[in-house]
């Protein structure tokens, strides 16, 4: 694994939704390359026909009954308690559409 190029860091930053300063990009490029070189040693292990492990419990599809329980639920007030940016019992978010779209 070679060194992570500036352009890759820039792209990753966008994927990760992080604003990175140019100084930070430089440091991260160096540090991430070092870690990737270290973890890259896994490449030499033979993993043909080996199933990947995503969890260790051996359990699957454990679902609770679909019933409403008061103590499983936050009230509207509780759910909104973490922010001041509230309008009519809704969270206020930044608008993501700037222009009216015209479908033809």
């Amino acid at each position: 694994m070679g060194k992570l190029a500036g352009i890759e860091i820039q792209y990753l930053g966008r994927l990760a939704n992080l604003h990175l300063s140019s100084a930070e990009k430089k440091i991260l490029g160096h540090q991430l390359s070092e870690v990737l070189a270290f973890v890259g040693k896994l490449a030499k292990i033979n993993t043909r026909n080996i199933e990947p492990t995503s969890q260790t419990t051996g359990l699957s599809n454990r679902l609770r009954n679909d019933i409403k329980k008061a103590d499983y639920t936050l009230t509207t007030e509780e759910a909104l308690s973490g922010t001041n940016k509230v309008y009519n019992n809704f969270f206020v978010v930044r608008s993501i559409l700037s222009k009216r779209s015209h479908n033809k």
Binding site: L4, E8, I9, L12, G13, L15, A16, N17, L18, H19, L20, E24, L28, Q31, L32, E34, V35, L36, F38, V39, K41, L42, A43, I45, T47, I50, E51, P52, T53, S54, Q55, T56, T57, L59, R62, L63, R64, Y72, L74, E78, A79, S81, G82, T83, K85, F91, V93
Partner: protein
């Protein structure tokens, strides 16, 4: 009161005999925190009002129901402090990060609720590496925690405040989380017992997630009995974490076999650490354990696997922090969180997923296979917790890879979902704590407790805290 008892049994005995009240205990701990925590930085929030309210309630129950009160609430009067990753209704929970600097959760974690129901008194919230990312406590956005045994040294991380508060006698028990040694390392560096339970025994509900396939909810105590008493309360299904089951726990074998995994004792291991573990082995041999050298060749790759899987899951879990519903925006993530988000995003991105993430998940399968095989031959493994004794503040902070390698002996237990108990034993030439870990198969907690208990008895180990800091 001059000093507080160091164990749950002594505390409850004292309460029953009227030697002190629960309010006295809270007063004692708060006075110590006020006096010494400026030097240690273990607490991010002290919940004084709640503590006094709960203490008064405890005193009332002891007065009215005596022993019956403790039979009903096994942890009655036990003062607990929570790692600041545990959501506490109405009490600020930061995860050690500026992103959640002023976050007040509207509900409590299952473990917090269970401990409260069992009679615990909550004293406050403990400092930790932000989002539990770290091995030294230095990655907290609220300043590093210091080791009470010597404040120039780190207490271990990420549950840094948990280890330090226990060593400083600020609290009777503390909670922690262990994704790759974050309970065991501070236990090891602060002279405590620390349990990383089997993945799927203790609910993660309401605990800020780090890497969901690895996170285990653990705790600290100053004797094996306290670890057991707390585990009796925290374990078990809550209907809110689908990984948790009321499993069948393994009993200790009549003649336990203890394995020494030779890969954990290779060059690079500090001499004092190695000597400590080997002395512990001698003690186990003396009390009738069969000692056997075993091999886990793939464990050499555990830390590399961990540093792919963990950042991948971190980048996904931290994706939810957008500053819209609660907390501050993503610009508030500190350098280590940013590093891990970037690394995780990379290993999950198209083009690199197969080479890194998928590969790591496959090697994880190989590690698990090896570990399962070893437990056909032995009942438990004994190993160092970390390659060195506590290191100095600042020593590794500018070298992320070196810091990551601190976790090299912790990773195997998390990747394979097994139980591990950190056991305190000796002190280094510099007067800093040393110990070892006992790893057992899934659901072997009670077997590990029996082993550690026998060791505790044989060595005449007594709990120790730092009186004057």
């Amino acid at each position: 009161m001059k000093t507080a008892p160091l164990t749950i049994k002594e505390t409850q005995d004292g309460l029953l005999k009227g030697r002190f009240s629960a309010v006295d205990l809270v007063n004692f701990y708060l006075t110590r925190i006020q006096k010494f925590d400026k030097k240690i930085n273990a607490y991010l929030t002290v919940s004084e009002e709640i503590a006094f309210k709960q203490a008064k309630n405890v005193d009332k129950q002891i007065e009215n129901f005596r022993e019956k009160a403790i039979e009903e609430k096994p942890l009655l009067g036990v003062v607990v402090s929570h790692k600041d990753l545990f959501l506490t209704k109405g009490v600020r929970t930061t995860a050690g990060s500026k992103v959640l600097e002023s976050y007040i959760p509207p509900y409590s974690a299952t473990v917090v609720q269970k401990l409260e129901k069992a009679g615990c008194i909550m004293l406050g919230k403990l400092n930790c590496d932000a989002w539990a990312h770290g091995s030294s406590g230095e990655n907290s956005d609220f300043g590093p925690t210091k080791n009470p045994w010597n404040p120039k040294y780190v207490p271990g991380g990420s549950s840094s405040g948990s280890g330090a508060s226990m060593a400083a006698n600020f609290t009777l028990i503390a909670t922690g989380t262990d994704t790759c040694g974050s309970v065991r390392l501070p236990a090891n560096y602060c002279g405590l017992y620390g349990l990383k339970p089997t993945y799927g025994t203790v609910s993660r509900y309401g605990v800020v997630a780090m890497a969901s396939s690895l996170d285990s909810i653990g705790h600290y105590g100053r004797c094996v009995d306290d670890i057991r008493k707390v585990f009796n309360v925290t374990k078990g299904e809550d209907g809110r974490d689908s990984t948790v089951i009321d499993g069948d726990y393994i009993n200790i074998s009549p003649r336990p076999k203890l394995g020494i995994p030779k890969e954990f004792f290779k060059s690079g291991l500090d001499e004092e650490v190695e000597k400590t573990v080997m002395e512990a082995v001698k003690v186990f041999k003396k009390i009738g354990f069969e000692i056997k050298e075993v091999s886990l060749p793939k464990s050499d790759y555990a830390i590399a696997v961990y540093y792919i899987i963990q950042p991948a899951e971190v980048s996904s879990n931290l994706g939810r922090y957008d500053g819209i519903r609660y907390g501050n925006g993503r610009d508030n993530f500190g350098p280590e969180a940013r590093r891990r988000i970037m690394l995780g995003t990379y290993v999950l991105s198209a083009g690199y997923y197969d080479a890194y993430y998928l590969k790591a998940m496959k090697v994880r399968s190989l590690i698990i296979k090896e570990v399962s095989k070893v437990f056909e031959a032995v009942d438990a493994l004994i190993a160092p917790v970390a390659p060195t004794p506590p290191f100095a503040l600042g020593e590794k902070i500018n070298d992320p890879l070196q810091m990551y390698l601190t976790d090299i002996f912790a990773a195997t237990a998390n990747l394979s979902g097994i139980a591990s108990l950190a056991v305190p034993f000796k002190f280094s030439s510099k007067g800093l704590p040393l110990g070892f870990q006992l790893m057992g198969p899934r659901f072997s907690e009670y077997s590990l407790f029996e082993m550690a208990s026998a060791f505790e008895k044989e060595t005449g180990y007594t709990p120790r805290v730092v009186e004057n800091i």
